[in-house]
Symmetry: C2
Subunit: 411 residues, 2 copies
Amino acid sequence: MTVFALEDRLVASLARGVRQRDDGDGDAAAPEEVFARAAWTSIAEPGDAAAALLIDGLGAGAALEAIVSGRSATAIAEELASQTHVDITAVTPAIGQGLERWRPRLVSAQVVRSLEQAARSGVFLALRGDESWPHGLDDLGPHAPLALWRRGAVGLGERARSIALVGARAASGYGEHVTMEAAAGLVDRGFVIVSGAAYGIDGMAHRAALASDGTTVAFLAGGLDRYYPSGHDALITRIAETGAVFSELPCGAPPTRWRFLQRNRIIAAASRATVVLEAGRRSGSLNTAGHAAALGRPLGSVPGPVTSATSAGCHRLIREFDAVCVTDAAEMAELVTGLLPEPPAARDRRSGEEQRVLDALSTRTARTADDLARRSGLSPSSVRATLGLLGIEGLIRERPDGWVSATGSPR
Amino acid sequence: MTVFALEDRLVASLARGVRQRDDGDGDAAAPEEVFARAAWTSIAEPGDAAAALLIDGLGAGAALEAIVSGRSATAIAEELASQTHVDITAVTPAIGQGLERWRPRLVSAQVVRSLEQAARSGVFLALRGDESWPHGLDDLGPHAPLALWRRGAVGLGERARSIALVGARAASGYGEHVTMEAAAGLVDRGFVIVSGAAYGIDGMAHRAALASDGTTVAFLAGGLDRYYPSGHDALITRIAETGAVFSELPCGAPPTRWRFLQRNRIIAAASRATVVLEAGRRSGSLNTAGHAAALGRPLGSVPGPVTSATSAGCHRLIREFDAVCVTDAAEMAELVTGLLPEPPAARDRRSGEEQRVLDALSTRTARTADDLARRSGLSPSSVRATLGLLGIEGLIRERPDGWVSATGSPR
């Protein structure tokens, strides 16, 4: 393997170090391919569509070799066109711009260091086709991750009932309480709780899932050798032990604002539905909500007091972005199961006639059917029929001098 | 006038007593017609479509004479068919059932007493065509009121900007606070506040409107000689003095549950939009909301804590009945003005490139464009262009050895 001028043996050893035996279909990938995928997570920033185009067309290894060997954008585009159906003139500029982005990062020492660090930290590379690969990510198309770094055994495969619970870092006691109840209720319904491990709502969602002996999965915006935020180090360690922690970024990569925004698209895509539990008008969780909506995933939003700034973003999602107003775990679960809401409880089960006769009755003074007809504005015959029905229901009592209500005040 | 075998002079005097000089077009109505309309409010319960059919077809006086004189349903239907385009066989049963309902109430003494009481109490009869007649009621079709009893001078004519603020009797401090703010803000925007004068949200809506020197109108479910609830006697008196109080029911008629439900349809129809500010899962205000929705009137609902039972009905309206989530007076006003919501504030005004370069900058260590390219994953040329833009915005500073961020932590 000529890539990066590294010896084949080193490449194979590095690749072995970041793969696990039970990685599923993706396990069949050749060492060079595994190494190249891992290298690409260092070279391209999350969501780089040009990198995805190249890798999908040529394979990760050949794509890496193409850019390391210094070939021109036109030459690479021609190679791509010979293997896929892309339009050369359309992709050449994108590849040219990609080359300019990637070249400054073609530093083999850094890639090797990152893979060694991963192997040391028990951080593994998850590839599409692996059992652990979050099934929903494929819906991101050219913006899907090239690979994921993973700590922990739980995946989000095709059958996983996953739901993202996200919200503001600056959560209120109300928001944390509602999140706790929601996470516990969703765990009871067999859901995996997905979130971003941030302070506030995210942290509470993970914590409540763990406290309910549920499974929870976190997506981070930086390398998994060092958890962010550091104040959640113990929490994220527990998540990795019982569930899983994922990141697009390799070991050694710090989280940046850009990477947080890109991480949000993965949370939305990996989950069957996204619920925002508390969010200010400009909370980052609205970004996650936007991704969920763009992907056509169900989006729920929990209302709160209109006097609370930490619910303003949630109300905005309901008002302007068609989020479903959800108030408890059952309603959040419905987002995924697609069940229709329970039919509204019969609001006025009594017919108008029954209500009007009940209104006309007294609990003390017995009244005749004719008297009740005059008071209710119904015909005497209709009153008599209605009295019969109300009698069967036990709502009225007959006395020698007429009828009385058995139910107290009519109001 | 042979109606009820009353002398014409008495009928004319009673009719004069319940009409005001400035009653507008409706003032032109003959005394017999005014008397008959007033009598009909005693004879038919609110929403009686058969009574409306008869009165619309024959006039109130002739309709009253027809039922007082003991004519058969078939004879009345024939008379109706001779003047309008109704189908005799279709209307005969409805008139027959109506006769049975109305006959027990054909007691002239009671009608006379009710009109005398109205004249004594300053309660006037409002008819369609009057300036005070709430314009929107016409949308109720055959279920529109036959007439309204009125205290106070303010009407809800074609140009009135009216909005109904309704909600639970068992309001919380939160609900009352939000109602107070909403009513004050809507008064500032020139709205007339419509409500039902009940305890809780209704009362607060009226009170806040009065406190803001605004106009407010109440619709009651019983006769206006005695206000219900009696604990709001002083409040309703003030509403009548500065705005108006309306009812379909004549003096002497007590409110009943049926009449409350029918009253709700008038609140919804008389207002350009209805907002439910706080409501339990079975609050009567949901009935008003249902009427608003059925009439195609905009319906708003104020969210609250999901932990509060007094907001559960509001959330249900948003979830299941497509009510618009409204959080302040401006959003409630938008229901009526039909303005689109303000465009969402630019969430990520910075381009991806700008954000990524900002992420890569340090506040302390100066970095070259090439270093920033490697860190951001952008091409060096793109970094240089972006640095130029960020420099113009004052977000970065150039030093001899490179660039630093001028904005503190990138996160």
